[in-house]
């Protein structure tokens, strides 16, 4: 852990001195008077060249003035019932037990608040812990955590022409382009996988003290389970979609499954960087006192949990899973992104083994157990590996949404089925299952019943459901416990069966299915009204 680099910015309100205030006032006036005609040239909003680092956080209350409104045209947090990032700093018995075991106070520990609060929250001084008025600390993850500090874009984004600004221009005002799957994935994985550069690492000591495990994470499945408070470009009105094409802001990829595949490549890259970045932060031998006792280099939590945490039994699941180039007995990199990333490479027509891509880091890990920080800082061949990932991302991002989508989704489903059949662990199989379950909904070549059957089988076998928070914070058997049980009991043979797809008949009926979607599946059907293309299964109610 060591020194924690936090997002720049403080809780100070600098609105009074904001250079954009006069501009903002003018924009608000424009918006209120309805003068902002759609299609107006983007240069109606001059974009300052201020580096984003200077932007400050405004607080979610400001956003909620509009966005909690039922009438909100843009985003209705209020109706996103599954939003679950707002109370991440619970005062529950598990937190208390962890604090006791670790000898820390969560509210004053940087590595806790890095993911559990608004990025503007500074570690609270001791006396301020129960202070509920510390809205940043107690607000959980809120708007600006993901969208960026609001001081720069808060006023401009009220302007009716805001949506016609290019993503890059919005970024210059401080708003993060979360439509870009790469950016969004990096954003989510910062906490859901970890990022040593910003201190967002759940240390192994914290897991040992009782922190729930971070399992496999597929961005789009998680978004769907969370309850999207946005619309994809292809869900918006045809008018907006037409404008999107001419205003360079549809960076959203061709479909949800394309987004997932891009995200998988990002996840693979991040899984390789995790340890490398921890080595950089550790700065050599990491003699600095760790933020949480027992969490100095190497940070075990950044490696593959199952590399060590398995039963000592023969025949050995660990040996069946294989070592991916590692010397047996060494902990490797986080494993779950690999199989889906492999599928992404295949869809991008750059077939390669994930293990091949991460081999530079694996070589560094073979030098000594956990790798030596010096070897990990710049493993030979890393640049080439990253370039290959980026090329595949670019290839997938270049796909446009057109009439060939059902055929493309069929191909994606077929690739995922093949890759899924080779999955040896639950955490690696679930991301593949999530995306297959999504892709096959829009694929041609299978009947509705066949698609339903595949999805139901995947759901049951891989536990694709992402349940909500436990009803009670001290729930003795929260969902992740049963996930761990399932991971331990995972049977690759059963999963292989679940991934086996019926033979596709290209051009076969793509009519909407007749039966309802499996209830346990978390993947929300995309609202179909605004989809201009002739896609199947988009109007099926949940």
């Amino acid at each position: 852990m060591g020194q924690v680099t936090r997002h720049p910015g403080t809780t100070q309100r600098r609105a009074a001195g904001s250079p954009f205030r006069p501009l903002g006032a003018a924009i608000v006036a424009l918006a209120v008077s309805g003068a902002g005609a759609c299609g107006a040239p983007p240069d109606a909003l001059p974009v300052p060249q201020t580096p984003p680092a200077d932007f400050t956080y405004k607080g979610a209350e400001l956003c909620m003035r509009c966005h909690r409104s039922e009438q909100s045209e843009w985003c209705d947090v209020a109706t996103s019932t599954a939003w679950r990032h707002d109370a991440l700093f619970p005062a529950n018995p598990r937190t208390r037990a962890m604090e006791e075991a670790l000898g820390i106070t969560a509210a004053t520990t940087a590595s806790c608040i890095a993911c559990h609060t608004h990025p503007a929250a500074e570690p609270a001084p001791e006396e301020a812990i129960p202070e509920e008025s510390n809205r940043f600390l107690h607000g959980g993850i809120s708007c600006e955590t993901c969208h960026g500090p609001g001081s720069g874009y808060f006023e401009p984004h009220l302007h009716a022409n805001w949506r016609f600004l290019a993503a890059a221009d919005k970024a210059r005002l401080g708003m993060v382009d979360l439509r870009d799957p790469v950016r969004k994935t990096e954003n989510c994985l910062g906490c859901h996988l970890g990022d040593a550069r910003t201190g967002r690492v759940v240390p192994h000591a914290a897991y040992a003290a009782g922190h729930p495990p971070l399992g496999a994470f597929e961005v789009e499945a998680a978004s769907a389970a969370m309850g999207p408070h946005w619309k994809r470009v292809w869900e918006k009105s045809e008018r907006i979609q037409g404008l999107a094409a001419t205003h360079d802001y549809h960076t959203e990829a061709a479909s949800t499954s394309h987004r997932s595949l891009i995200a998988a490549l990002v996840a693979l890259k991040r899984s390789a960087f995790l340890v490398q970045e921890a080595a950089e932060v550790a700065g050599g031998t990491a003699d600095a006192a760790p933020a949480v006792p027992g969490s100095a280099w190497p940070e075990l939590a950044l490696y593959d949990c199952q590399a060590c945490h398995h039963d000592l039994v023969l025949p050995s699941r660990r040996q069946q899973v294989g070592y991916g180039g590692l010397v047996p007995g060494r902990p490797g990199l986080v494993r779950w992104p690999r199989r889906l990333a492999e599928a992404a490479f295949a869809v991008a027509e750059m077939p390669t083994a994930a293990e091949d891509i991460i081999s530079p880091w694996v070589a560094a890990l073979n030098g000594r157990p956990f790798g030596h920080p010096d070897d990990l800082r710049s493993p030979a061949g890393a640049g080439n590996a990253v370039a290959r990932v980026d090329a595949a991302i670019a290839a997938l991002a270049a796909v446009r949404r057109d009439g060939s989508l059902p055929a493309r989704e069929r191909q994606i489903a077929a690739v995922l089925g093949t890759v899924g059949e080779r999955c040896t662990d639950l955490d690696g199989a679930r991301p593949v299952g999530w995306v297959l379950s999504e892709a096959i909904r829009y694929a041609d070549g299978w009947t509705a019943a066949e698609r339903d059957l595949v999805r139901a089988r995947l759901d049951t076998t891989l536990r694709l459901g992402i349940p909500g928070p436990p009803p009670r914070p001290d729930d003795p058997s929260p969902f992740w416990r049963s996930s761990l049980d399932a991971a331990a009991a995972f049977d690759p043979a059963v999963a292989t069966e679940a991934f086996r797809l019926p033979a596709a008949r290209p051009g076969a009926s793509t009519s909407p299915r007749s039966s309802p979607a499996p209830q346990a599946n978390p993947l929300r059907p995309v609202p179909g009204a605004a989809v201009p293309l002739e896609l199947p299964a988009t109007t099926v109610p949940r």
Partner: protein, 491 residues
């Protein structure tokens, strides 16, 4: 030419045709992994004219091959033979001793899979395997396969016999002093201290016998060592008269001396590993530290599904920071039991050792994954301290006139109270059980072993509760509460 037995002649034949089908331990050709020396037997080894033409014994092998010892008139005689000269030693060894099968083990499916995973040659060609699975470690030169096929043979423990093979068959041998015998390479194994040190070379390990975590990951079982128990279960191939077995405190002494020697060996191994790693770090070479076999296997190796801390929190106080693996609980608790279990007049003899081990454990809690050379060397220095104290303790115990073990629960209770997580573990339970057995079994070797047909006593039940489930090399499902209850039943 006493040593030139028929067996040895056959062995020489096999030397010439390495993959021959004769010889006790030579594997079937079909099992030979491809490698040098494997293939169909060559033709025409012996000629009609002179079956022994061209065959001369290799003097270098004379003192290493078991065949040199196992002629019927020497140690290969019947069980009812001349016990004064251990006429049955090799007979017992070849028929009942697991060491005779050490080399065969290298051909099992498990061993072959290990080699594949480790990306090494066939195990029976790898020195790292052969040093403990054959007599190879006695010689710096690669030995022919038929000599290796003896497994852990006479020379492995008694020493290379080249210099004393003939001398020890003469009448004046028994009159020679131990120093005289040692000068020609004969290892005196009559006392617990000498035995323990020889056994520990492989059963704990040292710089040249390093069974490390790569091996374990590939499939090698974990090592356990407690001398008294091994001697009780091991088929004795010598006359107990005048040796350790003749002493009424044989079991207790074996246990006490064995535990001190085990700690001496464990410290030596840790020191060797850390010193080697530090040197590698300094030269920028790949370094093997942390070496996971130095730590509690169960700290990491359990499925997260069964992790108690994830279930409801674990209220027991900790000695180590959460998520930190402790130094091998097998040895830490051995030191604790040795300290608490020695009765008067030796009570307190193990205190220094227990303190040193505790200090090492504390240091490793911080430095277990140290990356730089200076920090790794600190571990080596602390390990040296353990070796020094363990050595001294072992010598003291070996020389003590009378050893009594009292592994009573009340003596261990204070330890268990200060570090309940350690003392509620399987390793602590096993060490406690072994101490109880050393205390209660008594008598010379084999007499204290439970025989089929006897009703199981409370101690047998206690031992049974330590068994791993089938297929597991870990105490999955070990129930600390049940163990404590059963322990209370032991009289």
């Amino acid at each position: 030419m006493r040593w030139f037995s028929a067996r040895f002649a056959a062995a020489l034949l096999i030397t010439i045709a390495p993959c021959g089908a004769t010889g006790r331990a030579a594997p079937p050709v079909a099992d030979c992994p491809t490698g040098p020396g494997c293939g169909p037997p060559r033709e025409a080894v012996a000629t009609d004219a002179d079956p022994y033409a061209g065959m001369a014994s290799d003097p270098a092998l004379r003192g290493l091959a078991t065949a040199s010892c196992a002629s019927a008139t020497c140690h290969g005689g019947p069980r009812g033979g001349n016990h004064a000269v251990q006429s049955f030693a090799a007979t017992t060894w070849v028929n009942a001793d697991p060491h005779a099968k050490a080399y065969e083990t290298l051909f099992t499916a498990r061993s072959v899979r290990m080699a594949r995973l480790l990306r090494i040659g066939p195990p029976h060609t790898e020195r790292q395997c052969l040093v403990c699975h054959s007599v190879q470690d006695v010689s710096p030169h690669p030995l022919p396969r038929d000599v290796l096929a003896d497994g852990v043979g006479c020379a492995s423990c008694h020493g290379d016999a080249t210099e004393w093979l003939e001398a020890h068959s003469l009448a004046d041998w028994k009159g020679r002093s131990p120093a005289d015998k040692a000068a020609v390479g004969f290892a005196d194994l009559s006392g617990a201290l000498e035995r323990a040190r020889v056994c520990a070379r492989c059963h704990v390990g040292d710089a040249d016998h390093d069974m490390h975590h790569d091996h374990v990951a590939a499939g090698h079982p974990r090592l356990y060592f407690e001398l008294a128990q091994l001697q009780r279960r091991w088929p004795r191939h010598w006359n107990p008269h005048g040796r350790a077995e003749s002493s009424p405190d044989f079991n207790a002494r074996s246990w006490a001396v064995g535990q001190a020697v085990a700690l001496e060996a464990a410290g030596t191994l840790l020191e060797a590993r850390t010193a080697r790693a530090a040197k590698a770090v300094r030269s920028g070479a790949p370094a093997r530290w942390p070496e996971y076999t130095e730590f509690d296997c169960q700290a990491c190796h359990r499925t997260l599904a069964t992790a108690p801390v994830l279930a409801a929190g674990n209220p027991l106080p900790r000695q180590l920071p959460p998520g930190t693996p402790g130094w091998q609980p097998w040895f830490v608790t051995a030191a604790g039991v040795l300290d608490a279990g020695l009765d008067e007049p030796l009570a307190g003899t193990g205190a220094d050792l227990a303190a040193r081990v505790a200090a090492l454990r504390r240091l490793l809690a911080d430095e277990w994954a140290a990356a730089d050379a200076a920090r790794i060397e600190r571990i080596a220095a602390e390990a040296r301290g353990v070796v020094r104290v363990a050595s001294r303790t072992a010598v003291t115990l070996a020389a003590a006139p009378d050893i009594r073990v009292a592994a009573a629960a009340h003596r261990l209770a204070p330890r268990a109270a200060t570090d309940p997580r350690l003392w509620r573990g399987w390793d602590a339970a096993a060490q406690t059980t072994l101490a109880l057995e050393a205390d209660r079994r008594g008598g010379p070797a084999a007499l204290g072993v439970h025989h089929a047909g006897d009703p199981p006593g409370p101690l047998d039940m206690l031992r049974e509760s330590l068994l791993h489930p089938a297929g597991f090399d870990a105490p999955v499902g070990f129930d600390a509460e049940r163990f404590q209850r059963q322990r209370a039943d032991v009289p």
